[in-house]
């Protein structure tokens, strides 16, 4: 050991003597690490500032290319600014073609290609960029990332078996890389969607075994839970009341318009006087005051946006008024909006009650086009950007793709179920559709292929019964957070 330290020290001295500007390199590395630390704590503005400093002030340092990768990833994934992401990627490919981060530049290029659209041209461009990585950088771990995103691209265009093949390649070739964990999670989704849910259990468990303590391991636990609940556990009892309530008995929330549960386990309840936010331990942490909101959502910047009459009002004061052009050319204010869905490119889908339509508007509220002609009560979206529309008039749930093309329609009546007054709808991570029926208080779960997977109801007198369900949300493990008008609290089922 002592000999090793001596050798290391003497080599360090040799290296230091031979380095061009070690001081600058040291500064660059410190700045880069600072950026990573800010990124970890989601302080994106500070993080980007640090990365940009590295790129501008230390372009010859060993971390300048890695800083550009971080900038590109932020612009695409957080800022939703594909143009800026493209600029960073292009700079990376041009100025650092052989750098350590060059392989990831090709991965980013592929991601940007599929972000543009899902036409055959977009898909081929994306796949070609991903395929460059193993060809040009055969030993790089970015090959795992490239194969993962290639699988993701194929999955987005519903080439599920090919996607599964790519994901399998990642798990076989890079079993210890975090991309193997992500690929396994993605493969599990494919397996569930192709009716091989139980097979996914073993693979997901491997993620927990090989990558303990990671966010991927936590996701695997959630996925296992959903699969167990829907496909392994006896079908007659997919849920049971957990005994947990969210909100106090005295709170008495009224006119609940919706429930949302985010990845951190925070529960948001929209009601008459605003949006109440509860942490994962069910403690009320904040109430955003709003006067009789009809709906709410969280935008791409993480801001809570409430909907009142025709206006979308974001925290911080930004607002957008929704006006819909009529046949006579005049604009009509959308005065009753029961649901709004933010899309990945910043557009919004707005349920126009009066017009009995779902319209597409821009981030500034400007009308773009008609999306669907349905009297939508609720709009929800899955990871494929398929949209489930709860049609108030027909009491059915229509699932369309992001271009509005119908995929499935859950009718009010089918084998093993009947919807009397469907009031809310949600997707789980696998794309299964959950429908809450207020008329016959029950929750039904359908696969993405319109197969009834499970139904859940409770006798009225049982603790946790929900005789007057109003809204619900799902967390990552498929737990149901349901607001019942009788108890006037959120009740949790697992």
């Amino acid at each position: 050991m002592k000999l090793q330290c001596t050798v290391i020290a003497s080599l360090a001295l040799v290296a230091a003597l031979g380095a061009q500007s070690p001081r600058e390199e040291e500064l660059a590395r410190s700045q880069f690490q600072s950026g990573l630390d800010f990124l970890q704590s989601r302080r994106f503005a500070e993080a980007i500032k640090d990365f940009q400093t590295v790129v501008d002030s230390f372009p010859k340092s060993s971390v300048a290319d890695a800083a550009l990768v971080q900038i590109a990833m932020y612009q695409l994934d957080v800022a939703r600014n594909p143009e800026a992401a493209q600029a960073a990627t292009d700079k990376l490919l041009k100025e650092y073609p052989s750098g350590a981060a060059a392989p990831m530049a090709y991965v980013m290029a592929g991601r940007l290609a599929i972000n543009k659209g899902r036409t055959a041209t977009d898909v081929e461009a994306a796949l070609a960029s991903f395929e460059r990585v193993p060809r040009l950088f055969p030993g790089s771990e970015a090959v795992a990332a490239a194969n993962y995103y290639a699988g993701h691209t194929l999955w987005l265009v519903r080439r599920t078996e090919e996607a599964l093949d790519r994901y399998r390649r990642v798990t076989m070739e890079y079993p210890r890389s975090i991309w193997a964990a992500r690929a396994t999670l993605a493969a599990a989704v494919c397996l569930v969607q192709t009716d091989r849910a139980v097979r996914a259990l073993e693979e997901l468990q491997r993620v927990r075994q090989e990558f303990p303590g990671t966010p991927e391991a936590a996701t695997a636990l959630n996925y296992n839970t959903i699969i167990y609940r829907l496909y392994v556990r006896p079908p007659q009892s997919p849920y049971a009341f957990s005994g947990k309530y969210i909100g106090s008995e005295t709170a008495k929330f009224r006119d609940v318009v919706g429930i949302s549960v985010n990845d951190a386990g925070q529960v948001m309840l929209g009601h008459k006087t605003g949006i109440s936010i509860f942490d994962a331990k069910a403690t009320l942490v904040k109430t955003v005051t709003a006067e009789e909101p009809s709906a709410f959502f969280v935008d791409e910047k993480g801001r809570l946006v409430t909907v009142r009459r025709d206006t979308l009002l974001a925290e911080g004061g930004d607002y957008a008024a929704i006006a819909i052009p009529q046949k006579d050319g005049k604009l009509r204010q959308a005065d009753e909006i029961p649901s709004v869905l933010p899309l990945s490119n910043g557009d919004r889908l707005v349920a126009d009650r009066r017009g009995k339509a779902v319209i597409r508007v821009g981030i500034n509220g400007k009308y773009l086009k008609n999306f669907a002609t349905l009297n939508a009560e609720r709009l929800v979206m899955n990871k494929l950007e398929d949209i489930a529309i709860l049609d108030r008039d027909t009491k059915s749930v229509v699932v369309v793709d992001r271009d509005g093309k119908q995929l499935i329609k859950i009718l009010p009546k089918g084998t093993g179920y009947e919807l009397d007054n469907p009031i809310d709808v949600a997707f789980d991570p696998f794309g299964n559709i959950y429908v809450l029926d207020r008329g016959k208080p029950s929750l039904h779960v359908f696969s993405s292929k319109n197969k009834l997977l499970a139904s859940f109801s409770m006798p009225e007198k049982d603790p946790g019964a929900f005789p007057r369900p109003q809204a619900f949300g799902l967390d990552g493990a498929g737990r149901v957070y349901l607001f019942d008008d009788r108890s006037q609290r959120i009740q949790v089922y697992q």
Partner: protein, 712 residues
């Protein structure tokens, strides 16, 4: 009276004269012929022959041994021949000439008194004596260019002569004198001391002598002359132990430092003050044996011990004669090598317990600035803690020679961290062939190279014998964590078996216990009636919270032991199940890019040299085959697979073997064998690795691909 004196002198000179050198050359043929004729009393013919012989001998240089040996005799024979023919004057002249050549000459053989008288007459007129005295008496004397003893009385011909005296440390003296007939001339020479002389003795001999930093040579083997007996006795050594004298002339006044060095001896040093010109005796300087003892033991009983490149015998090995200094100690066996550089100091008792490990010879270092530390040795030292492999750097000149012989460029094994070849690298197969040849040359199980990427970041490439595809490992040399990570990666060896009860337990939120997510239909769990969806709540009476706890409980069991489980089935009914634990085989992922397959290859080959249980051997061979397939050695992989027999069943089993055989046959262009193997695999329940995927799906895809290719 005078004649008697002269006769006595002649006698003395004959005694004192320097011994004639042994005949320097064969007898002059003319001389021989002349002698024959003289001896046969054919004086006429002898005279003619002697004329020729004498003219031939006269033509030679004065110092010529033949001239000195035969000319006097020739003159004598001619003189006697002339006398015999009545030419007295001629005889007399020849005697005078004879005496001028050798003043101390005595007539030989039976000589008539008249000849003797004539000779004595010549002596009387031609020879006189000189009394020589020289100081110091050890000086070398020369009389007319011929060495003569110092301080002696010698016969000398009448006439002019020159005497010289010379000795190291003295100024040379030359003096002329005239010798007159009938009187002895006395010549006294005194040499002037002008410089000092060091007479150096060492014990032992063969010692390098350096004076004031200037090397002067080595002391030769002795013994020294008796004049040094006193110095030797003072040193309490025997003359046989002492070297010959090393004479260092012309040493200036002052203090001089003399160093004495010899391999395996402690360096000695002495200071000699020289204040006046004189002879100084230094020594005998004793040198102490500088050795350490070394004991070498080996983990492999077949290992040979090699020290500094020389094979010294089988291990265990001991020596008490390991010279002080740096040495390389190696153990070499078929299973691997142990390599260590040791620094021995006098009196050390070194013990080395060598663990032989498969070895990679580090042959090349690319991108290193010239004149720096040998990066290969730096890497050798940094990776010394590796428990799986040895990296060693053979001598640079041997490496250069071997690389030239293999005709590969210096960058042949140079890669960057993304495994892109640097410089002009040979094709894959050529690299594989060169690697195997070079590894064999150096008695290693593989070869390695180091490529400098930037600053202190390097990429280590390793290539096992028979492999066409190297592994690369990036290391930041001055970062201890980076080095540690690299060593951990190198040492990562897969386990070949793991305990199993034939079911997969999965974690589910909000559920206390472990849900059974999968059951092997032919495994112990299935036999115990456990089904998918059951809940394991206890193992060996201990509550089980999650899958990790169940795995830990399983890990405490040996093969064939029971693991007692409490199970809640899907109806909620509780039951107990005793499940037998089995050790299920594992297989490395043939596509797993994170494995250093070359390191695994050499480790497996080494392990297979030691006999093991048939089941374990079969799995090791299977893993070896997978590793060989991964590096493109398809033929060798196939040969290993032919020795692997596994039962049918789920997990890693016969179907796995068949699938791999199919891959090998496919790659080797043997379509029929590939198809047969793939069909067998497609009909099995086996997995490619213990975690999947099922080989039947993979084999089915391969069969489809074969058919597509056939259609094309």
């Amino acid at each position: 009276m005078l004649i008697r004196k002269l006769a006595l002198l002649l006698l003395l000179s004959a005694v004192l004269a320097p011994a004639r050198p042994a005949r320097a050359q064969a007898v002059d043929p003319q001389f021989s012929e002349a002698k024959r004729l003289f001896d046969s009393l054919d004086y006429d013919a002898a005279l003619r022959a002697l004329d020729l012989a004498i003219s031939g001998l006269e033509a030679k240089p004065l110092q010529d041994a033949a001239r000195r040996e035969f000319l006097p005799g020739a003159y004598e024979m001619r003189a006697r021949s002339k006398f015999g023919l009545g030419d007295v004057n001629g005889a007399r002249a020849d005697f005078v000439a004879l005496l001028k050549i050798n003043a101390g000459h005595a007539l030989t053989g039976q000589v008539s008194p008249r000849v003797v008288a004539l000779f004595e007459e010549a002596v009387k007129t031609t020879v006189t004596s000189v009394n020589l005295t020289v100081t110091p008496p050890t000086a070398k004397m020369e009389l007319d260019g011929m060495p003569v003893p110092a301080s002696s009385t010698l016969p000398v011909t009448v006439g002019e002569h020159t005497i010289t005296a010379d000795q190291i440390g003295y100024r040379k003296v030359q003096q002329a004198f005239t010798a007159e007939a009938g009187s002895t001339v006395t010549v006294t020479l005194t040499l002037e001391r002008v410089s000092s002389v060091l007479n150096i003795l060492t014990t032992p001999a063969d010692v390098d002598v350096t004076i004031d930093g200037v090397k002067r040579g080595k002391t030769a083997a002795g013994p020294p002359p008796p004049t040094f007996a006193e110095a030797i006795a003072r040193a309490k050594v025997t003359p046989a132990q002492v070297s010959a004298v090393m004479v260092i002339p012309d040493v200036s006044a002052g203090s001089h430092v003399i160093e004495f060095t010899r391999d395996c001896y402690v360096k000695a040093e002495t200071r000699v003050p020289i204040d006046k010109p004189d002879d100084y005796t230094v020594g005998p300087i004793p040198l102490e044996h500088a050795v350490a003892s070394l004991t070498v033991r080996a983990s492999d009983p077949r290992a040979q011990v090699v020290i500094d490149g020389q094979t010294r015998g089988a291990a265990p090995f001991s020596t008490t004669e390991l010279c002080e200094g740096e040495h390389t100690v190696e153990l070499r066996a078929q299973s691997g090598r142990f390599f260590k550089r040791v620094q021995a100091r006098t009196g050390d008792k070194l013990t080395i317990d060598g663990q032989l490990k498969p070895a990679f010879a580090v042959l090349s270092a690319t991108g290193q600035p010239p004149g720096g530390t040998d990066l290969r040795i730096a890497v050798e030292r940094l990776f010394d803690p590796s428990s799986a492999v040895t990296l060693f750097a053979p001598q640079a000149d041997q490496v250069d020679q071997a690389l030239r012989a293999s005709q590969v460029p210096p960058t042949w094994l140079a890669f960057d961290a993304n495994k892109r070849p640097l410089g002009g690298a040979p094709e894959l197969v050529q690299r594989g062939e060169a690697g195997t040849k070079l590894a064999t040359t150096f008695g290693a199980q593989g070869v390695a190279a180091v490529s400098v990427i930037d600053r202190n970041r390097v990429v280590l490439s390793i290539l096992a014998v028979g492999s066409n595809d190297p592994d690369v490992l990036e290391v930041t040399l001055d970062n201890a964590d980076s080095v540690r990570r690299a060593i951990t990666q190198l040492d990562r060896m897969p386990a070949f078996f793991r305990p199993s009860i034939g079911m997969v337990g999965v974690d589910v939120a909000d559920v206390a216990g472990v849900v059974v997510g999968g059951v092997d239909p032919s495994g112990p769990a299935a036999k115990a009636g456990i089904k998918v969806g059951d809940l394991v709540t206890k193992a060996n009476n201990q509550p089980i919270a999650d899958a990790a706890a169940l795995a830990a409980a399983l890990g405490t069991r040996k093969s064939n032991e029971d693991l007692n489980l409490e199970i809640k089935d899907r109806t909620g009914a509780v039951k107990q199940a005793a499940v037998k634990v089995s050790m299920t085989p594992r297989l490395i992922g043939i596509s797993d890019q994170s494995l250093l397959v070359n390191a695994i290859l050499v480790a497996l080959r080494s392990r297979l040299l030691t006999p093991s249980e048939p089941a374990e051997e079969a799995i090791m061979r299977l893993n070896l085959a997978a590793a060989l397939a991964r590096v493109g050695a398809w033929n060798e992989a196939r040969m290993e697979l032919q020795n692997v027999k596994l039962p049918e069943g789920s997990g890693v089993a016969n179907g796995t073997v068949q699938y791999l055989i199919g891959l090998c046959a496919d790659r080797l262009g043997n379509r029929a064998d590939a198809e047969t193997a793939y069909r067998a695999a497609a009909a099995s329940d086996s997995l490619l690795t213990e975690d999947g995927p099922p080989v039947r799906e993979l084999a089915a895809a391969k069969l489809a691909e074969l058919q597509r290719r056939a259609g094309q």
